[in-house]
C-alpha cells in the first residue's frame, strides 16, 4: 500500500491543504527530450516523465482535472451521478466531494480499493471537528489559513496509520 498525496480544495477552487508522502519525481539532470544520436530504446533507467513542476502546479492540474471529469461524468451519467475514482497504469486517484463543494482527493497505488468512505471520514471526523469547529479558524481558508493546525495534522496521521497500514 503506497500513499502518494492528499489534497483538500475549497469551493473557490483553491487548494487549502496538501500533503505528500513521497518525493516528487526528480528529473536527475537528464534532458527531458530525447536528443538525436542517443538511443531511447536502450535507456533502461526510468526516464523522467516530466520536467520539474512545483507543488502548486500539481495542485492546479489536479483541481482542473477532477473538475472536468466530474462535469463529464454528470453529463454522461445524469445529474445524480458522482465521480468516484480513476486508475491509470501507475496510480489511482480517489475523489470525494462534500455537499458544500469541498473536494477531497487522494492519490495511491493502483491496488487500492475505493477510498471514498475514508475520505468521508477524514471530512466528518477530522476536518469538521478540528477545522470547522475551531473558534480561531476563519470561515474561509484563503491560502490554507487555519486548516493545517496541529490537531488536524496529528489526527490525519493517526487515521491514515490506522486504516491504511503500509
Amino acid at each position: 500500500m503506497v500513499l502518494y498525496s492528499f489534497y483538500i480544495f475549497d469551493r473557490h477552487t483553491e487548494c487549502i491543504y496538501s500533503k505528500r508522502w513521497t518525493r516528487p519525481v526528480s528529473s536527475s539532470g537528464k534532458p527531458t527530450r530525447p536528443q538525436s544520436g542517443s538511443s531511447i530504446t536502450s535507456d533502461s533507467s526510468p526516464a523522467p516523465t516530466r520536467g520539474v513542476m512545483s507543488h502548486s502546479d500539481d495542485e492546479k492540474l489536479i483541481f482542473g482535472l477532477v473538475f472536468s471529469l466530474r462535469n463529464m461524468v454528470q453529463k454522461l451519467g445524469g445529474e445524480d451521478d458522482t465521480f468516484l475514482s480513476y486508475r491509470t497504469g501507475e496510480y489511482k486517484l480517489h475523489y470525494y466531494e462534500t455537499p458544500t463543494r469541498m473536494k477531497f482527493v487522494m492519490l495511491t497505488d493502483t491496488k487500492q480499493n475505493n477510498l471514498r468512505p475514508y475520505l468521508h471520514q477524514i471530512w466528518a471526523n477530522l476536518y469538521v471537528e478540528y477545522v470547522v469547529k475551531n473558534p480561531l479558524a476563519p470561515v474561509e481558508h484563503p491560502g490554507g489559513i487555519g486548516v493545517a493546525n496541529e490537531l488536524f495534522e496529528r489526527g490525519l496521521e493517526t487515521f491514515i496509520k490506522a486504516v491504511l497500514p503500509a
Binding site: 513521497t22 519525481v25 535507456d43 526510468p46 482542473g64 461524468v73 480513476y86
Partner: protein
C-alpha cells in the same frame, strides 16, 4: 452484463465512432459528444502528467520482441469509476482511444476492449475505403460489435 456505449477517439482528439448499445446513460447531442471526446483527450494527457512515481519498466524476459520505445512512458487514465457506470479506456500504440462504458462492477473489461480493438483492426483498418482520422462507417464493424456485445449480454 450491460454495455452502455462505445466511443472511439482518434489520435487528434476527434470522435470518430460513437455507438450506444443499451440505454442507461443520458442522451446528448452529437455536438456534445464531440466536445466530451475532445476534452477527454486533454484530461487523458493530464493524467499522464500527474504520475507521482515513474512507471515500472516491463520485464525484459520477453526478449524475442524488439524493445518497445514506450516502456518508460506513463500510461494515462485506464479505468474511470462513477456511481452509475464504469469506463474502460484503452489507448493503442498509435494513439487511438477506445472508451467502453459498462455498468459498475463489471469484471474483465480490458479483455473486451482488446477484442473490440481486434474488430477495429480487422474491419476498419483493413477496409480499403476507410480514410484514417475520419468517422468510421463500416457496416461489418457495426455488425461485428453487435454480435460481440449481444453474445455477452
Amino acid at each position: 452484463m450491460v454495455v452502455f456505449a462505445l466511443f472511439v477517439i482518434s489520435k487528434a482528439g476527434g470522435l470518430i465512432y460513437n455507438r450506444e448499445f443499451h440505454t442507461g446513460m443520458s442522451k446528448l447531442s452529437s455536438n456534445d459528444y464531440l466536445m466530451l471526446a475532445g476534452s477527454f483527450h486533454g484530461m487523458h494527457a493530464i493524467t499522464k502528467q500527474l504520475c507521482p512515481a515513474p512507471p515500472v519498466a516491463a520485464d525484459k524476459a520477453n526478449s524475442t520482441l524488439a524493445p518497445s520505445p514506450f516502456i518508460n512512458r506513463a500510461s494515462g487514465l485506464e479505468v474511470l469509476e462513477t456511481s452509475h457506470f464504469r469506463m474502460q479506456c484503452f489507448q493503442t500504440q498509435t494513439g487511438v482511444k477506445f472508451l467502453l462504458f459498462t455498468e459498475p462492477q463489471q469484471p474483465n473489461m480490458d479483455a473486451m476492449v482488446k477484442k473490440i480493438y481486434e474488430l477495429y483492426a480487422d474491419y476498419v483498418m483493413k477496409n480499403p475505403f476507410y480514410t484514417v482520422e475520419m468517422p468510421i462507417r463500416c457496416e461489418k464493424f457495426d455488425r461485428g460489435l453487435d454480435g460481440f456485445v449481444k453474445v455477452r449480454s
